[in-house]
Subunit: 317 residues, 2 copies
Amino acid sequence: MGPEPETVAELGEFGLIERVVGGRRQPATTLLGPGDDAAVVVAGDGRVVACTDVLVEGVHFRFDWSDPVHVGHKAVAANLADIAAMGASPTAVLVGLACPPTTKVPVIDGIFAGIFAEAGRGRAGVVGGDTTSGPAVVISITALGDLGGRAPVLRGGAMPGDVVAVAGNLGWSAAGLAVLRRGFRSPVNVVAAHRAPEPPYAAGVDAAEAGATAMIDVSDGLLADLGHIGAASSVAIDVRTDLVQVHQRLVDVASALGGDPRHWVLTGGEDHALAATFPGPHSVPKGWHTIGTVGRGEGVTVDGKAYQGAVGWQHWR
Amino acid sequence: MGPEPETVAELGEFGLIERVVGGRRQPATTLLGPGDDAAVVVAGDGRVVACTDVLVEGVHFRFDWSDPVHVGHKAVAANLADIAAMGASPTAVLVGLACPPTTKVPVIDGIFAGIFAEAGRGRAGVVGGDTTSGPAVVISITALGDLGGRAPVLRGGAMPGDVVAVAGNLGWSAAGLAVLRRGFRSPVNVVAAHRAPEPPYAAGVDAAEAGATAMIDVSDGLLADLGHIGAASSVAIDVRTDLVQVHQRLVDVASALGGDPRHWVLTGGEDHALAATFPGPHSVPKGWHTIGTVGRGEGVTVDGKAYQGAVGWQHWR
């Protein structure tokens, strides 16, 4: 036995793979996990839902604001939320990772700890991947999911007369980012919401079973993502601020820092909440709450008017 | 209409997606292609085969040696060969792409032209992906495949008494790299084999149907990858040089450049040929040719002896 390896280069590719996957448990949907040319995953529905998301160090995350475990967690959460937004249950993730050879082993350990933890929360296996040398840490996650016999819920199915509802946190990630930007580390639950969002995966299946007509993962911000539903469905969407919940914790943070909590809720990205449209108020399932209506026309309005706040959503990307 | 965008930054994310996917045809297995939160792909078998491979500029490819179209082609070929090596038929690929904002639009056009062309050759849809800013061009491809009711062919199933066979080109990519390293651009078919390998995808399914006991994609080099089968199967593998075909073109190139064509065949990587073991000579299907035998013990030998050539395979990575 030589000394404990300190960097990825010392560990080597096979050492890294063994370190990352050794002794991990996989869900029953993982028929064949890492180690062969490819993995085999249950797709009982006869269709598989798939999406990919890439996170780049310095663009999507900074190691001075997020621990490696948070980065791995967030990369998986962003992808599994996309699976949930189709009305599917996550089954598996694959991980493409590029990093400088000088990357310290605990950074890799942390990233994969976050990946396995959040995949586990979503009941998805971590079934394969590839690790390689690169100029920065780049994490590419592909997630797979199963529709359980349901039709996928697309962005384009909203109809005039539908109601708009959301599930999960909104504005928390933006509030956490505002806290971090001011150099603070608390309130911890707001900061945690930015570093390691926990999307409501099961709410996506609930929405599909309840007859949701359109659904999207809120990654760019509520108004921006409702705009995607509106455009794909050729409808207008109006959000009513008296229905939008602004958690007291966000009010407190905004009061301390001078921000606008409602602006965070309406435009903050990266919470990976789900937004959907339903045929009527009685079809909105438990865990979702109604925030607006679908009408004829185009565009997203707030209380019937164009939103006057600064367009914040591109800012968070 | 403004001026034609020159860089990815000018094009913007949505412009890039529209440019890349607009007007493309997808195979029938693509139930829902790019544009929503996730794609939906046929998995008629009830299982899905999945793998991921990451290519990094400056590590796996250089734009002065390979055109963007070759880079896209090669990224897909490497992944679909892994699907084929399980005995599965490719169905879909997803593309994660990071690139500097200054990347010229024709580079992106070329990468995706290569991706769509090789995916099309493998009958796979290009069903989704993500494009983002990054410090270098990083291409992460995930491929999906269908087993058509067959058991996956793993690395660990070879048995003493089996024969070893290969399908596809061996040594061509290494020969092409040797040519490029000397500053030449011909012979063109050798250089093309390095830039844009064409793995024999259908041969993987043929091998599975013929009862292959183990199979692998030759990405690191024939001896190295047979070593993976040997280790996973706890068997010894002997390659007989009198059975290994060395194409006259490789002999000619080696003669001109001073290389050893057999060394290229035995240790050159990145051709993405397939190597497999079969229960006996009569079970080796058309398109495959026998090159050796499986015995008790461990390790890979050439004509019964340890291979004396330089260990070349890590070199090509």
